[in-house]
Symmetry: D2
Subunit: 177 residues, 4 copies
């Protein structure tokens, strides 16, 4: 299973970092075979990559052309899309069986909407204090009236990790149906 992670391009506060750490540990316990895909190696994305490597996840970083030359830690698989930020997000989201948004700004929200439009299961961490918390108020269930997939919101990162591992493999079959 390939899990795409949408996360802030800037560093975040300690509370979110702590939630992210809990999420990753539970993910490691519940679906140890998962490969994680991130859209860069800076901000919260860098924090996720570093924590995931400590937990021995396979990690793929899907880089936009604007940052193709960022240095990645040993062992990370590098995809250099040659495409600007938003087009790089398309590669990230399409390559993911499910998308998990751990908090961020417009880029993170764009990836959530893209995943929805592609029919991928989407999980959003709330109560982060970041701009993406607005998604739950704006779109409590679905993004539009096509009702493609229900957006799942969680303020408990451990519960979210368990749901991702429990439901995702089943959902994948739908999303490519």
């Amino acid at each position: 299973m390939q899990i795409g992670i949408a996360a802030h391009s800037s560093p975040v506060n300690a509370k979110v970092e702590s939630m992210v750490r809990e999420f990753l540990r539970e993910l490691r316990a519940s679906c140890p075979q998962a490969t994680l895909l991130l859209g860069g190696y800076w901000g919260l994305m860098k924090f996720v990559v570093d924590e995931a490597l400590k937990l021995n996840f396979t990690v793929v970083v899907v880089l936009p052309v604007e940052r193709y030359d960022v240095e990645l830690p040993q062992g990370v698989i590098r995809i250099d899309t040659g495409a600007e930020f938003r087009s790089r997000s398309v590669v990230l989201v399409r390559s993911s069986d499910v998308l998990v948004a751990l908090g961020g700004g417009a880029g993170t929200m764009i990836e959530v909407l893209m995943a929805y439009a592609m029919g991928k299961p989407v999980y959003v961490l709330t109560d982060t204090g970041l701009s993406s918390d607005a998604l739950q108020r704006a779109f409590p269930d679905y993004i539009d009236d096509r009702r493609v997939v229900r957006i799942r919101y969680f303020n408990d990162p451990i519960k979210m990790a368990r749901e991702v591992c429990r439901e995702a493999p089943r959902a994948v079959k739908i999303s490519f149906g």
Copy 2:
């Protein structure tokens, strides 16, 4: 000036069609040199293209790879991106000096968020009864706390057209600054 139009991929009700017609007529009067860019030739997008051609606008249709073979009316410039729906939207939005959202679903909202993230002026028609009306409630001013550009909402299509033509040429300079 190149004006990107985000619009529903399905047909819409007569009220929205009427608002769109008013918008285009006023646009033709206020900035007759504008070139219009659309992301397809179906649904509301087709309606916009057909009306724009009647008004003698230059029209560019930026096609996703899934619909590369759609037939376009004589005189329309066809860009075949070879890229799936969301990546095609990147080409559309980046090629636009301003983005105008005339109402739609997730695809339209993604284009609004992309334009914001790229620092382009964004104008959104409201009171359409379509899913994109949710944007104003969710993001009354800015999409995230970077406050890149203020989203401008209008329920009056004529006023919106005038604002697009009055402010856009100035804004362009900012967006590439």
Copy 3:
């Protein structure tokens, strides 16, 4: 008809400029409705754009992300792909009913091979003294054993323009068949 022009990213000698001028004049006479697509506004591509504008062609410039901010002359339609050089070439070639290579380096040759692989009619100007002259020796007829489309080589730019205008509209139907 949309005619893609593959041309050198550097300036070329006076002989090639003269051949290009002849080609464009004859093209204007033989298929005045043609829209020309170029991949940039520098080197020989800039020369072609400037000459084409003098002849009142509609011109579209399809920009790579690395050069998104190049200034274009008034009246040119700008497509900002957000994609690096080679991916931008895909948009250029796919958007063209036929591809004409007026001489260049690796980029020009890549576009010729792309057009072949997409099944588009391809016309190559020879005797330019540029690297792309190697194509005729390497691939006198077809690029590979699938024999998708025969590459047409011309050392006479006027004859080439006439052939483009005579055969292209017919060929288009095949290439999307």
Copy 4:
């Protein structure tokens, strides 16, 4: 080190399969840490993926949008670019520290020219009986007069594998210089 493999989209004869097997075994012996990137899972590309998995290589398959739903073997990392064949090749080549062409048609040759244009080290297997054998005659040293990187041709797959592993890490530094 990430090694991109350009290979035919159709099955090939037993001689080439045998050369490919020798290449991969030597590669496994000489640079066991290498990750292999392929552009699909059909034709010779499928053969390479299957052999590489037997040798316990990490394998990434970079899919074009036209074939996004091809089933991959367990353990392979899937990148779904959402981009058509040639744009997918850009992601493949840009993500590779070096490109190795094992024989093919226009698609393989396009990837060789792309790698050259990006300044990546390129290794081409010759005497395959496939269309890509034409490259050596056409471009014995360089693709164009910019002389970006010298194309390296080998009819001995074992020697080629050793050279890839010996020179590539050094070359990478140049290609992003």
